[in-house]
C-alpha cells in the first residue's frame, strides 16, 4: 500500500514538472497580475514621448512602450496607470517600488547604473542634445553660444553635458538650472536666457510650448548621443527579462515586417521560424517568461511594431516630424537591432 502511494506521489511530481516549467519567483509580475495594471513612470508632459492629450489620453513613444508591456503581460494595452514624474522624482519613485517600470526619456549613464540600483533594459530612442535659440540671435553652430546664458533642467544629463562641452573648449557660458523643464522653458521664453538645451526629440515636442514657435530655431549640431530606454530596479530578474524582451519584440516585429494590420495573416501563414516564435505559433516563448504565448501578438495587434509607433508619435505622422535617423533599423542605416528570437 505504502509503495503504491509513493509511486503515485512520484508520478504526480513528474507530471507537474513536465507540464509546467518551474519559474524563478517574480514578485513584480505577481503584483502586476494581482493588481490588473502596469504602473508606468512617465514624463510630466513631453509631446511625442509622454503627453496627456486634450481628451486626457496618454500618447507618445514612451507611453506606447508602457502599453506594449501591458498588452504582453495582461493582454490589454489599456491596463496602464501612468505616474508623471519630474527629473528629480523619477529615481525615488522607481527605487521605492511605486512604479513597475520607468519609461521617461531617461538617458542611460554609467553612474546611474552603478549607484542608483537601476538597470537599463535597452534603447527605445537615440536622443542627441542640442540647443534652441531665437532666430534673430543669428546662431548657426553651438560654438556661437560663447558668452551666452543657457537655461536647463537641474539634474538632467543635459546640465552636465553642456557644462562639460563649453568648459572643454574654454568658452564661457552661464548655465541657469531650473527644477522643472517647464520652468526652464518659460524662463527662456521670457528672455532670461539666450538658449535652452535639451534633446533634439524633446525640443521638437517642447517647441510648441513657446509663445511664438516660429521665432525660435533648433540647432542641427548635436553635442552628445544620449540613448534612452525603459528602466527597472535591481533584483527580480524575470521582470527585467520581460521588460527587455517586450522592447525587443517591438523592434524585431518591425524588422520582420509584422504590423498591426498583417499580424493575423502572418500568424496564420508565415513560414519564417523567428516570426512564428515571436507570434507564439511555435516555441512557447511566453511560457518561459511566465506570460501567455500570444504576448508579442498582443503587442503588435494592439500597439503596433516600433516603426508604426515611431511614425505615429514622433515621426512624420506626428506634429514633431522627426526623421528616423539613428532610430532606424540597422539594415536601413540606423542603430536599432535585437538579439535573436531563438
Amino acid at each position: 500500500m505504502k509503495v503504491y502511494g509513493f509511486a503515485a506521489a512520484m508520478a504526480c511530481l513528474v507530471a507537474t514538472s513536465a507540464g509546467a516549467q518551474q519559474l524563478a519567483p517574480s514578485p513584480t509580475l505577481d503584483a502586476v497580475k494581482a493588481r490588473g495594471n502596469i504602473e508606468c513612470g512617465v514624463h510630466l508632459g513631453l509631446p511625442g514621448f509622454s503627453f496627456a492629450n486634450d481628451k486626457g489620453e496618454w500618447t507618445g513613444l514612451d507611453v506606447d512602450y508602457c502599453r506594449s508591456l501591458a498588452a504582453a503581460v495582461l493582454g490589454d494595452a489599456n491596463k496602464v496607470k501612468y505616474t508623471p514624474t519630474s527629473v528629480q522624482q523619477r529615481w525615488p519613485i522607481l527605487q521605492s517600488g511605486q512604479v513597475d517600470v520607468l519609461a521617461r526619456n531617461t538617458t542611460i549613464t554609467f553612474s546611474r547604473n552603478a549607484t542608483l540600483g537601476v538597470n537599463f533594459q535597452g534603447i527605445n530612442f537615440y536622443e542627441g542634445q542640442t540647443f534652441v535659440v531665437r532666430t534673430k540671435a543669428k546662431v548657426n553652430k553651438v560654438a556661437d553660444l560663447a558668452d551666452a546664458t543657457i537655461c536647463v533642467a537641474a539634474g538632467s544629463t543635459e546640465e552636465k553635458t553642456a557644462a562639460d562641452w563649453f568648459r572643454e573648449r574654454n568658452l564661457k557660458v552661464t548655465i541657469i538650472n531650473f527644477q522643472k523643464n517647464d520652468d526652464a522653458i518659460s524662463a527662456y521664453d521670457q528672455g532670461r536666457c539666450d538658449a535652452y538645451t535639451a534633446g533634439i526629440g524633446a525640443l521638437a515636442g517642447q517647441r510648441i510650448k513657446f509663445k511664438d514657435p516660429a521665432e525660435h530655431q533648433i540647432l542641427t549640431e548635436i553635442i552628445s548621443n544620449d540613448p534612452q530606454g525603459p528602466v527597472t530596479r535591481w533584483g527580480d530578474e524575470r521582470w527585467q527579462l520581460i521588460v527587455r524582451w517586450v522592447l525587443n519584440a517591438q523592434i524585431a516585429s518591425e524588422a520582420f515586417g509584422i504590423t498591426s494590420k498583417n499580424v493575423d495573416e502572418m500568424k496564420a501563414k508565415s513560414t519564417n521560424s523567428e516570426v512564428r516564435r515571436i507570434l507564439g505559433v511555435e516555441g512557447k516563448f511566453g511560457d518561459m517568461m511566465g506570460l501567455s504565448n500570444d504576448w508579442a501578438y498582443n503587442i503588435i495587434k494592439q500597439v503596433g511594431n516600433y516603426g508604426e509607433s515611431y511614425e505615429r508619435t514622433v515621426g512624420m505622422g506626428s506634429a514633431l516630424k522627426l526623421k528616423r535617423g539613428a532610430n532606424e533599423l540597422w539594415t536601413k542605416g540606423g542603430l536599432l537591432f535585437t538579439p535573436a528570437f531563438q
Partner: protein, 384 residues
C-alpha cells in the same frame, strides 16, 4: 532593597533614561534597516559622494566655486547663497514691517488704511505665487541685454541681471574702508559721551545730525576718493551679454523682494500687537514729561513693546530662512536648488542629502533662536 524607587526624583530620572534608550534604539534600528535595504537594492550609500567632483554650474556664487570643485564646495556655495538672501531679506523685512506696523496705528486714516490693505493682501497670498510673480514680473519689466539701461556707462541693468564693476585691486578701497571703521567708532564714542552728558546735565546734543555727516557723508567721500585711485573691471557688451564685473542675478532680486515684502506683512502685525500691549498710562506719562511724539515712540513705546514683539518676530525670521527654499522654484542657487536638486539627482543619494539639508536648516534656525533669546534677555526692561 528597591526602596530608592520610592523617591519620585529617582523614578523620574529612570523613566527619562528609559525613554532616551528607546529613542536611540529606534533611530539606530531605522538607520541600520535603511542602509541594509539600500545595499540590497544596489543603491549607493555613505558620505563619500561629498568629495566627488560636482560638475554642476552655479551662475551666482560668492565663494569662487567652479564646476570642477567637490560636491562639498557646491553645498557651501548653496549655504552662502541661502544666508545671503536670508540676511538681506531679514533686515529689509524688519524695516518695512516696523514701518507698516506703526503706520497701521497711525491716526492718519489714509496711511492706516493703506497699511491695513498691504497686510491683508500679503497675508492672504501663497508665497510661491508671490515669488513667481516677482520673478516673472521683474523679468518682464527689464530690457534685453542689447537695450540695457546704463548708469554712467559702467553699470548695466537688463534681463540677465545688474552688472556692476568690481575693483581689480583692493588697496585703495581698503584704506577707505578703514576710514569708515574709524568714523563709526568715533560716532559710537560720541554717542556714549553725549548720553553721559545728558544724564549729568540734562542737556541734549545733536548726535544724529553729527552722525549723519560723519557716518553718512564722509564715507561716501572716502569711497569716491578710494574708488578713483583703483582700476575697475567694467562690464562690457560681448556677444550675447555683458562680461566682467559682478552680476546680481534677477533670481536674487526676485527672491529678496518676495521674501522681504511677504514677511514684512507678518512682522507688521507682530509690531502692532506689541505696541497695543503698551498701556496708555505709560504713553500719557511720557507725554506729561514733555517728550516729543517721535521720542515717545523710540524711547518708551518700542522698548516696552519689544518683549511682546520678539517671540513672534523670531518665528518670522525662522520662517523667512526656511522660505528662502522657494528660491528653488526660480533657479536661485540656494541649498535646496543646488544640493537637494542638482546634487541629489546627479549622485542619487537622497537620504544622505536630505539629512544634511535638514541638519543645516536646523542649525541655522537654532542659531537665530538663540541670538533672539539672548537679545531679548539683554534688552528686556527690568520690571519690579
Amino acid at each position: 532593597m528597591m526602596t530608592f524607587l520610592r523617591d519620585r526624583k529617582v523614578r523620574d530620572i529612570l523613566w527619562q533614561a528609559a525613554g532616551a534608550v528607546v529613542l536611540v534604539a529606534l533611530v539606530w534600528f531605522f538607520v541600520r534597516n535603511a542602509s541594509e535595504n539600500m545595499v540590497k537594492a544596489g543603491i549607493a550609500s555613505g558620505f563619500q559622494f561629498l568629495w566627488r567632483d560636482s560638475g554642476i554650474e552655479v551662475p551666482f556664487n560668492l565663494t569662487g566655486y567652479r564646476p570642477s570643485d567637490t560636491v562639498l564646495a557646491l553645498l557651501w556655495t548653496g549655504i552662502v547663497n541661502t544666508l545671503l538672501v536670508s540676511a538681506v531679506s531679514i533686515v529689509v523685512a524688519t524695516a518695512i514691517g516696523f514701518a507698516v506696523g506703526l503706520l497701521r496705528l497711525s491716526s492718519n486714516w489714509l496711511l492706516s488704511t493703506l497699511a491695513g490693505v498691504y497686510v491683508e493682501f500679503v497675508r492672504n497670498i501663497p508665497l510661491l505665487f508671490f515669488v513667481l510673480f516677482w520673478y516673472f514680473g521683474v523679468l518682464a519689466a527689464l530690457p534685453t541685454p542689447r537695450e540695457s539701461l546704463s548708469f554712467l556707462g559702467v553699470t548695466f541693468l537688463n534681463r540677465r541681471g545688474l552688472s556692476i564693476p568690481t575693483p581689480n585691486d583692493l588697496t585703495g578701497l581698503r584704506l577707505s574702508l578703514l576710514a569708515i571703521v574709524v568714523l563709526v567708532a568715533a560716532q559710537w564714542g560720541l554717542a556714549r559721551w553725549a548720553r553721559a552728558r545728558q544724564a549729568r546735565t540734562g542737556r541734549d546734543f545733536p548726535t544724529w545730525a553729527v552722525g549723519f555727516v560723519t557716518c553718512g557723508a564722509l564715507p561716501i567721500v572716502a569711497l569716491v576718493l578710494g574708488g578713483a585711485a583703483t582700476s575697475w573691471d567694467v562690464p562690457t557688451l560681448r556677444g550675447f551679454n555683458y562680461r566682467g564685473g559682478f552680476v546680481l542675478v534677477p533670481e536674487f532680486v526676485a527672491l529678496f523682494a518676495a521674501l522681504s515684502t511677504y514677511t514684512a506683512g507678518f512682522i507688521a502685525e507682530a509690531v502692532r500687537g506689541g505696541i497695543l500691549s503698551v498701556r496708555q498710562g505709560q504713553i500719557d506719562a511720557a507725554r506729561a514729561l514733555g517728550l516729543t511724539p517721535g521720542r515717545i515712540v523710540r524711547l518708551v513705546v518700542i522698548p516696552l513693546a519689544m518683549p511682546v514683539i520678539i517671540p513672534p518676530l523670531t518665528s518670522q525670521y525662522l520662517n523667512l530662512i526656511k522660505n528662502s527654499s522657494f528660491g528653488a522654484a526660480i533657479a536661485y542657487p540656494e541649498i535646496v536648488a543646488v544640493f537637494m536638486g542638482s546634487a541629489l539627482v546627479s549622485t542619487g543619494q537622497s537620504i544622505e542629502i536630505i539629512a544634511i539639508t535638514l541638519a543645516i536648516y536646523l542649525t541655522l534656525s537654532l542659531a537665530v533662536s538663540l541670538f533672539m533669546n539672548w537679545y531679548d534677555a539683554r534688552h528686556r526692561m527690568v520690571t519690579r
